[in-house]
């Protein structure tokens, strides 16, 4: 369960307040969506939760399964069960996808005091997970995200999620740059990972993705706050009327 209380965040180097009191609770097993216009603070929220540099928390707190996140290093947050699927997955030439994933999986296991996976165990596991995401072994052999299409990059993110088995997954505009088929494939991958002890926070501009990943709750974010929350119908309302009416309504 992710609990965010009164979270205030500014840019580290500039006197610019981006989050102005975010309150949000995502109970275990639920899928929540955050929608909102450009510049409302959606991506900042995902970065602050996962520990990216460049932001200063000026007030508030965030906890995952009772553990306070904000003091942790990014790798500690990951080991605690947080996963961020990037809007723009990073290309790392010269580092094999397998090496990267095995390093990540074993680093997390080590951090949690679990035994590391042997090469054979890892290989078996990744082959099995990759197959369900239609990721072929050639893609696993390539350097991380290098030469991957937009769809392949996002599938690779979901593969990482599947391998790392987080309790809280944040998807930052995972639908951006995807055609309909690729989006369906990614959504199927996410849906296959739904479990009673795993929550999702899906950040998106469009309702489209939410047709495929059905949310339990939809939040509208504007000017650094959650201004409205509701059921899936809220996303449809945004799709039909845009943000203008909705934001005027909440003042």
């Amino acid at each position: 369960m992710l609990e965010i209380k009164n979270l205030h965040v500014k840019l580290e180097d500039e006197d610019k307040q981006i989050l102005k009191g975010v309150d949000l609770t995502v109970p275990a097993g639920e899928v929540h969506a955050i929608m909102g216009p450009n510049g409302s603070g959606k991506s900042t929220l995902s970065y602050v939760l996962s520990g990216r540099d460049g932001y200063a928390v000026t007030a508030g707190e965030a906890a995952l399964d009772g553990q306070s996140l904000l003091e942790m290093e990014p790798e500690q947050r990951a080991a605690a069960g947080l996963f961020l699927a990037f809007q723009y997955p990073v290309e790392i030439p010269g580092v094999g996808n397998m090496t990267f994933l095995r390093t990540a999986v074993n680093a997390q296991r080590k951090a949690r005091g679990e035994e590391e996976l042997s090469a054979a165990e890892f290989l078996k596991l990744i082959r099995q997970k990759a197959a369900t995401l239609k990721i072929d072994s050639e893609m696993l052999k390539r350097a991380v995200n290098v030469g991957f299409s937009g769809g392949e990059k996002k599938r690779n993110e979901i593969l990482q999620m599947a391998m790392l088995e987080p309790s809280m997954c944040i998807l930052d505009e995972t639908d951006s740059g995807l055609d309909v088929d690729a989006m369906r494939l990614v959504a199927d991958g996410v849906n296959a990972l739904r479990r009673p002890d795993r929550s999702f926070l899906v950040i998106t501009h469009y309702q489209r993705l939410l047709d495929h990943i059905r949310p339990d709750v939809v939040h509208i974010m504007a000017d650094g706050r959650i201004v409205r929350s509701g059921g899936p119908e809220l996303a449809l309302e945004v799709e039909q009327n845009g943000y203008g009416d909705l934001l005027a309504e909440v003042g």
């Binding site: 947050r77 080991a79 010269g94 990540a104 680093a107």
Partner: protein, 448 residues
Amino acid sequence: MADTAVLVAQVPTVEGKVRPGQAALAAHLDALDLPRGGFSRAARQDAAQRLEAMGLPGARDEYWRYTDPAPFNAARPEPLEFAADDATLFTAIDRLHLVFVDGRFDAAASDPLTAEGVEIESLAAADAGDDHWASGLYGRLEAAGQVPVKRPFAALNTLAAADGLLIRVTGQVARPVHITYRRSALDADVHLHHVVKLEEGAELTLLESGVLGARSNVVIEADLARGARLHHLSAKRAKDPKLGLGHIFARVGAEALFKSFTLSVNGAMMRNEAVIDIAGDDAVAHIAAAVLGDGNIGRFHHDDTVFVIHGAERCESRQVFKKVLKNGAEGIFQGKILVKPGAQKTDGYQISQGLLLDEGSQFLAKPELEIYADDVKCSHGSTTGALDETALFYLRSRGVPRERAIVLLVLSFLADALDEIEDTRLREDILGRLEDWLTERAGNPGKA
């Protein structure tokens, strides 16, 4: 004309004075025990004359603008306490292993000098006689490489080298020839001169590793006949601040392939010069380096100065230089491609990149192209930058600890250079050691 005459009159004369470079040279030569030479005597005398004319480089020498020649000019190196060098590279590979200690061939520690398709002798042994196949090569490529830029330390090496290897390859050599350098004296001032001759269609892999001495000056002259292939791989790691100079002079014949890769890790003030003369049509020459420098171990300054000459048609050259620098380390790259008239369809490429892990380190690059043919493809690029923060965050967000993530990103940065090692086993060996060293260093910031 009158004005010119006045100007000439105002130029102070140097006649009767000894130029600083010559004074340094005299002191330097005094400190050396110069071999008399057997078959190499004429070449040594020729080198002495050329050296006398050029002197040692001065601080104002344009070619030494980024590297201070003073420590190399000094008559003797400072004695250097050194940690035990690790000599585990290439040990898992079936190779012909040859050992030099303080710049002298150690036959007892080496494999017998016999292998199919190759003749090998030590220079010291061969130079006892007056007749040798290498007499037509020793000092010849070095002398040719003195134009248009003077390389005094290479001439000094031809004059002063006490030992080295003379390798003549006539066929396919199955096992790589691996030279391990060891040191025992604290103040060893080593001059080594290797001559490698590959006959038509011959192939050799030449490996170098280890640490030569407190100060070293190594010349390799490599002559590749038609269709010959030479893979040269040098990996050196010093845990202390030694001084090193290296020169490679290669003449690459038609359809021949020359590939050289150098890995330098830590603790050195180093200058490597390469003169690659691509003399025959359809030849290929690649030269690459990966450098890891940490200024906390001692002054780290690493200079790669490369001159590639295209003198024939349809040839390919590629220079890939990558330097990772931290704690005030300095990386230099001077690289030039010269395309002579008539060298049509030349494909020349050059990239030099510095990865600065802190603000105190610097990377200086001076890329040059000089082209006298009109149907060629030449490109060069140079970048200097810090670690990609987004990539670092990406790795950490997957649970990879910061130090480990930095190791992965450094390996990522070096990948293009490492890819120049064609042999998979050798590349894996280098990569494995590199990863170990990086990991070791990451765990001990600021210490050797």
